[in-house]
């Protein structure tokens, strides 16, 4: 992930549920009580970059409690994980989070979830092969007519896979684009070969 990677920046802005462990004065407005100090035990949704900083701030000190503890965001909640276990293809990942895998990898770095990694890997590879299938079909052989105008469009989606393709997260979208570009340039070469 490079410094200027817009997806990584947006992933850092995803909210995760945190619980404050200390009373903090003058932060009450985070909990809609501007005049009161923020009480210990309050649950607030914080962006990932802030939550990460606060959670590891005092971790090296054995005496001090961390400022906040965090839970897994709803996108990685139990029901989603169970659904992914059952059938990865049926879960609309984009509805959970547009940066699902980015968020998940960040969360796994913070909390060691061995099982989650295995489930995510299975989800990713199964969905990837599905993505490749659609990328080859869309605008490809036998799927679209000889329409001129949208022949060169990059995301000329239509037909059965529309729902699935709309539910792709950003990683999968870039995969789709790569697979589709490969197929498309292959097709262009195949058509061009007869002209020379």
């Amino acid at each position: 992930m490079s410094y200027y990677d817009i997806d990584s920046i947006l992933t850092d802005a995803e909210k995760i549920p945190c619980t404050f462990q200390l009373d903090i004065p003058d932060l009450g407005y985070l909990d809609n009580t501007p005049t009161q100090p923020l009480k210990a035990g309050t649950k607030v949704n914080l962006p990932l970059w802030l939550a990460e900083m606060l959670a590891i701030a005092n971790a090296s000190d054995t005496e001090g409690k961390p400022f906040v503890t965090f839970d897994l965001p709803p996108a990685l909640g139990n029901d989603v994980v169970q659904a992914l276990k059952a059938d990865p293809r049926a879960v609309p990942l984009r509805d959970q989070s547009a940066h699902f895998y980015g968020l998940a990898t960040q969360m796994m770095e913070l909390s060691e979830e061995q099982e989650l990694a295995a489930i995510l890997r299975k989800t990713f590879v199964i969905r990837a092969s599905e993505v490749a299938l659609y990328a080859r079909k869309v605008g490809g052989v036998g799927h679209k007519g000889k329409g001129g105008a949208d022949e060169g469009s990059n995301l000329g989606v239509g037909g059965a896979g529309e729902d699935f393709l709309r539910a792709l997260d950003e990683w999968e979208r870039s995969l789709f684009r790569k697979a589709h570009d490969g197929t498309k340039s292959g097709k262009e070469w195949m058509e061009g070969i007869k002209k020379h």
């Binding site: 895998y101 990898t105 990694a117 590879v125 990837a128 790569k178 570009d181 070969i193």
Partner: protein
């Protein structure tokens, strides 16, 4: 992002490289040997066959100075055999690349290694052995099979049809079989993503995959492998730490033994 081109060769570049493959022609006119950068071309004497690079053969073909003899692996029966192998015999893997040439090769009687290795101890492996390129026997796909077949069908379709006995039906059959083959192998490439033994596990054998297929799938395959790596990164880091700790303990034990 700074470079508009993705890493690796594009289709056009692969097709350009494939033009250096040798094909056999039957010349119709005499042509003396030409001294090119890549070496001398063989002198052409009409009834005798000669091996020329694809680009040169296509040029002569367009000028009606030569007929191209399609390579043996492009024969419909050879293609059908490969498809049978890919779908029925070994539906999990790509068909093997051509074996190293031997003197007793039944597909090419009398043909020995075209370019004997400059250094005898030099070991070549597919796709760099001669039988992987020009002298590929029937029943195996050479490295540049897709480019070569498309170029021959596009520019020398009549020669392909004539060589395989029959009019347009023969070249149509070859075309259809090639489409099947391309689809079968593309489906394999896709399904191996979800296979833990395929590149879904971060590791995959690309033995026998052609240059054009590599160009087509490079972006996607690299994307998947990269994604799997990122997802497994934290687990991998934890495992490595554990291992290091284990090694340290082992080390201290040994020191105590001394």
């Amino acid at each position: 992002m700074a470079l508009p081109l993705p890493p690796g060769l594009t289709h056009a570049e692969v097709a350009f490289l494939a033009e250096m493959e040798l094909v056999t022609v039957v010349p119709r006119q005499r042509l003396e040997s030409i001294n090119l950068l890549g070496g001398k071309t063989p002198p052409l004497r009409p009834p005798h066959r000669a091996d020329l690079p694809l680009w040169f053969a296509l040029l002569l073909k367009k000028q009606r100075r030569a007929n191209i003899i399609p390579p043996p692996w492009l024969h419909p029966s050879s293609l059908a055999e490969i498809i049978h192998h890919e779908t029925k015999v070994a539906p999990e893997s790509f068909s093997d690349p051509p074996p190293a040439p031997s003197r007793a090769d039944p597909a090419n009687p009398g043909l020995i290694a075209r370019r004997p290795a400059a250094r005898p101890q030099q070991q070549l492996s597919p796709p760099f052995i001669p039988s992987c390129t020009a002298a590929s026997p029937a029943g195996y796909l050479p490295y540049h099979w897709q480019e070569l077949a498309e170029a021959l069908l596009a520019h020398a379709g009549d020669d392909v049809a004539a060589a395989f006995g029959g009019g347009l039906a023969a070249s149509g059959e070859v075309r259809g079989l090639l489409r099947d083959l391309v689809e079968v192998r593309a489906a394999k490439m896709r399904s191996s993503t979800a296979d833990p033994d395929g590149f879904g596990g971060g590791l995959m054998s690309l033995r026998g995959v052609g240059a054009m297929e590599l160009a087509e799938n490079r972006g996607f395959v690299l994307g998947v492998v990269d994604g799997v790596r990122k997802i497994g990164a934290s687990v991998e880091a934890a495992r490595r730490e554990e291992e290091e700790r284990g090694e340290e303990e082992m080390g201290s034990d040994e020191e105590m033994g001394f």
